[in-house]
Symmetry: C2
Subunit: 257 residues, 2 copies
């Protein structure tokens, strides 16, 4: 039958990564995708960097250009690379703008995007308590960095939030005198950690004494409570954040698809 078909002869790929030869547990393009994710995760490819062309990668790994393309397109969907026609493929770089647009779902009722500032940022280090260990999958005795701050919009306090980070992932953070307003781009640039995904649980709460004071409102007012966990490329929990939000003339937007 097959006169032209060259069977899956994938032995001895020049790259260090080994592709499953026969009865692949995963399709080739998925294996290739995993190779690329690994290169980004481990810093072989750095944020903002131009990676080799599809043909070069195909030759290096020993698959067809179409297979490399499928893997790269999947990475583009996951926001791990950016493809620019005529220029090449770049490792996605977190910027304050992009991160705010991607993970910050509060909007003005008119539709405008909210760009909050940070105030009264405080930071401390402690042994993780039980809840923190559960949320961040830490062992007993592990240390965390606790950050609390008030975020303002249009001059008014809007969000009172507490952020908990595993100290091991952020060795130098405690010595920084200031913490930037947007954290995730800082995580990537300074600590090589790409925040890739997470989940947020929303409930309504009445303002307690602490929130009322921080947000400059009367106790008892209804507020939105956002309980967020974010993960790195290797699925390790990297941040637990609780944001108490005063939504006056604003809302949390969810797209349903």
């Amino acid at each position: 039958m097959s006169a032209t078909r060259k069977p899956n002869s994938k032995e001895a790929s020049p790259s260090g990564a080994e592709l499953t030869t026969a009865l692949a547990a995963q399709p080739l393009y998925a294996q290739v995708e995993a190779i690329f994710v690994d290169r980004i995760r481990t810093g072989v490819w750095r944020p903002g960097q131009l990676i080799p062309s599809e043909f070069e990668l195909a030759r290096e790994i020993g698959v067809s250009q179409g297979t490399v393309r499928k893997a790269l397109n999947a990475l583009a969907v996951d926001n791990l690379v950016e493809r620019r026609q005529g220029r090449g493929t770049f490792v996605a770089e977190h910027t304050p703008d992009k991160m705010l647009f991607r993970f910050f779902n509060l909007f003005e009722d008119g539709g405008g995007h909210i760009e909050p500032d940070s105030q009264n940022t405080r930071m401390s280090i402690a042994r993780a308590n039980k809840e923190e260990r559960e949320r961040l999958k830490l062992d007993v005795g592990a240390e965390v960095i606790r950050v609390s701050r008030v975020r303002t919009h249009a001059g008014k306090p809007m969000i009172y939030e507490t952020i908990v980070l595993p100290r091991q992932f952020f060795p130098g953070l405690v010595k920084e005198k200031t913490i930037p307003n947007t954290l995730y781009d800082h995580f990537q640039k300074e600590y090589g950690l790409t925040v890739s995904h997470g989940e947020e649980r929303i409930t309504a709460v009445a303002a307690g004494e602490r929130e009322a004071k921080a947000l400059e409102i009367a106790p008892g007012l209804p507020l939105i409570r956002l309980d967020r966990t974010m993960y790195a490329l290797n699925e390790a929990p990297i941040e637990w954040r609780v944001s108490i939000c005063l939504l006056s003339g604003a809302h949390y937007l969810v797209r349903l698809r």
Copy 2:
């Protein structure tokens, strides 16, 4: 140069739809996708139906099987078709289970999915007021169907919601004696309207008299307010819904990607 290449000779496709010949404003696969969406929207292909194979569609439309594949895969991502290896491609059929899983984001704090029941459903017809006309893009004088109900979970009132529907899209709805618990599958089956996407705006509110009575709680308690607009395949607004939710031991879950 090209000895083997057959250029884009796409004139006179056997199907009624005309593909752009030269300088296509959209890529071929996008045009093919639009053709398929149209067939689903207009009922040429009905929910649950097995559609022709990729090769048949390719021959009919006059493109390669790979192009049809790309279009169908895009539709699968949008939940408009389901592909089953070895069986074929089916038009996605709304079922109560699938719709609840897809658009209902309330979960128990333990992680379990909430499956609410409906109580005290009331229905009325009226001229759309200004806000309803804006939300549903209706002309002055258009009529709407207003539905209100209380949804319970584990025997307790959880959601008090008001649903507004353009009457023109649901000619027989007003004569139905009961309205089903899950609406979107009913819309598709009875009125040929596939709810494809929408958005939900979340705020926190204090329980007023009406909500307190409906949810059997004290006035003033903090509640989540979901303000949702849903659209049909042709982008027409099809539903405006406001749900006031008492989240005790539950939360609204958002995936961040």
